[in-house]
Symmetry: C2
Subunit: 385 residues, 2 copies
């Protein structure tokens, strides 16, 4: 019998793997989660093992609302939150609940490549809206919406990562956030705000979320414990107008199975009640900032001057622009033969573009390995000149 | 702030609640799960907290295959299993992966009412196929398929609970199982076999699963830890031809989030490795058989002779037939006013029928409370004569 893997990550010997957006497993708070699990099962373990409340358990919802109050300045009311199995599960459920095949989904270009896959699995028609150094181009979004309207069409939703974008690390400016919210409210556009990196800021706290500018709609904000606690938990939350929360709560999936991932939700509820999360997130900020700085320093040292990038102010990624004639996807096999890997920029575009870009992650690898990876990447690019 | 509930179950004072198909929380193996959780996190906890392998972790897949080998006589190969978030999540994922809105789904009549909700959320067109005391009527299924074919239509799938059906407790005979598999193979009909009650037999082991009669297709068999371990875990498995498993593994949802419910999957893998499940299932069989017998005895004592039922050989439910002119849904408010509740039979039918039936569950309540409930139900029915 083949030995089956336990985890998704697989590393190839001899290659510095900048492609994976996974956290270093050394940063996972194993002991504190063990403590929360033991506590949960010792207190009244039956509550963690029965079918969970559809909205999510109160003892997770309540501390999340409190915590968001500290982060945002205002705590959302409990009826605006729904516990999810992470951003991917939330997006999947929203597609099932709100869309039909052939519906138009607007997506940032570039954007989180695996969100595109989930939207495509629901047979949505994806239309990219360009982003620049200030985030999504609201003027182009407005043009696209007007163009659709003139053809009698309408967009069912917009998916965006406005804060520390994956892959670019850029945050949408406050001005554009207000403009997007105003536009979305005016035309009734559902905006799915993937807000998974908000707490992983390294220099300054990010601008307010779109949701907090318009908490009664039409923004749906997705949060997750994947990046701030542990991805294997498959746990997150959704903030939205009460009627969207109710559509999730009353879906067949929830009616049949009860709350999504209830057992884990109870354990994470305890983790929050024991006040273990804030200190862990503070540790992560320090660790990831060091890794970001180590990677940027190595890139400055080794990459040719015709490669450019911005300093990401949060999240896990450096988005590198190559000279105009380069194609990062075409170059990948040679780069891997030279002992370094990355994700090609074209992956992050719904329909073309991004060829001269590539994404490096600094979440997984220790500084010394990233330095070696940057050296190999630089040496490989030098051979192309 | 409102105190939010933690669990899905809510009991109304003064009412004997036969409606909920939930297990008694006293039967949940809290201490053994605490032991498995502690063991998992102490051994190599990082494996439980990283993104999980898309197919599910090897240390859960391997013991499930071994265990199914003991139950079925033959262990399925690992490439035919996929770890799910329970039957509901599996059904939801299969709908996303295999169907489009408007596709035809054939469903047993009566069948599990909440599966109907999930199929409807995916906008499938449901067509009922009647079942009798021997299970699904294969002759009527064949007629329906022929009728569809003559109109140029085809059924995308059949959903069935062939073993200890919810709501009837009936199992499909071996002859019909062979006939169904032969028909499904002949016409290429995907059959989703909800096999969640197989291990909860009280008199004799049930007939072989449809899947084990045709392991290479077109049967998809859904199993779950919800009934044999704990529903709040939200964990199960799917057995299917390797190409179906691969469609699940390669879906956007799995690519993005890694394995479904990975943390819990690792803990349940440990639970199986510690060999804690078989003794727990044996305990459940004894406990539920006692409850079944207690309910049946009370029903015989208190219900009018014009109410009839069969002895369920497994699962949680007694399916009661009332006299022909009765409507269990219309009577429910009066029954609840008399202090007893149930689920009306019409719920379990996709499009009409079942009015004179009702479902009682014996999983949740202790014998004394069920006796009182049967007494109230009997007294209420006497008032109608």
């Amino acid at each position: 019998m083949t030995l089956l893997p336990s985890i998704q990550l697989s590393l190839r010997p001899g290659i510095v793997e900048f492609g994976w957006g996974h956290p270093d497993s050394a940063l996972l708070p194993v002991e504190d989660i063990a403590r929360a699990a033991a506590h949960t099962l010792a207190q009244d373990g039956r509550l963690a093992l029965a079918y969970g409340a559809e909205q999510g358990p109160g003892n997770l919802i309540t501390p999340i609302c409190t915590r968001l109050g500290h982060i945002d300045g205002t705590a959302p009311p409990a009826e605006q939150i729904f516990i999810t199995g992470g951003v991917s599960q939330a997006l999947d459920l929203l597609c099932t609940t709100l869309t039909r095949p052939g519906d138009i989904a607007l997506v940032e270009a570039p954007t989180y490549h695996l969100a595109l896959r989930i939207l495509r699995d629901h047979k949505l028609h994806l239309i990219p809206i360009p982003a620049d150094q200030d985030g999504l181009r609201i003027d182009l979004l407005e043009q696209q919406l007007a163009g659709l309207r003139s053809q009698g069409q309408t967009a069912r939703l917009l998916y965006t990562v406005p804060t520390f974008s994956n892959p670019t690390g850029i945050s949408m400016t406050v001005e554009r956030r207000h403009a997007l919210v105003e536009l979305a409210q005016r035309v009734g556009l559902t905006v799915i705000e993937d807000d998974v990196y908000r707490e992983l800021w390294y220099d300054a706290t990010p601008p307010p979320s779109l949701f907090s500018l318009a908490p009664l709609g039409p923004i749906i904000r997705l949060g997750s414990f994947a990046k701030i606690l542990a991805p294997g938990l498959r746990l997150g939350w959704l903030l939205a107008a009460p009627e969207i929360v109710q559509r999730c709560v009353k879906s067949g999936l929830l009616d049949s199975g009860g709350g999504v991932n209830h057992f884990t939700a109870q354990i994470v509820g305890t983790f929050l009640e024991l006040n273990l999360l804030d200190k862990h997130v503070a540790t992560l900020r320090v660790a990831y900032k060091q890794r970001r700085d180590a990677l940027l320093s190595a890139l400055r040292r080794y990459l040719p001057t015709d490669c450019t990038w911005r300093t990401p102010q949060g999240s896990f990624f450096v988005w590198i622009r190559l000279p105009a004639n380069r194609d990062s996807a075409a170059l990948l096999p040679q780069a891997e033969a030279a002992g370094v890997s990355y994700l090609p920029g074209a992956l992050f575009h719904a329909s073309g573009g991004g060829k001269r870009y590539l994404r490096l992650s600094f979440a997984l690898l220790p500084a010394a390995e990233m330095e070696e990876g940057a050296r190999r990447l630089g040496a490989f690019f030098q051979t192309l000149s």
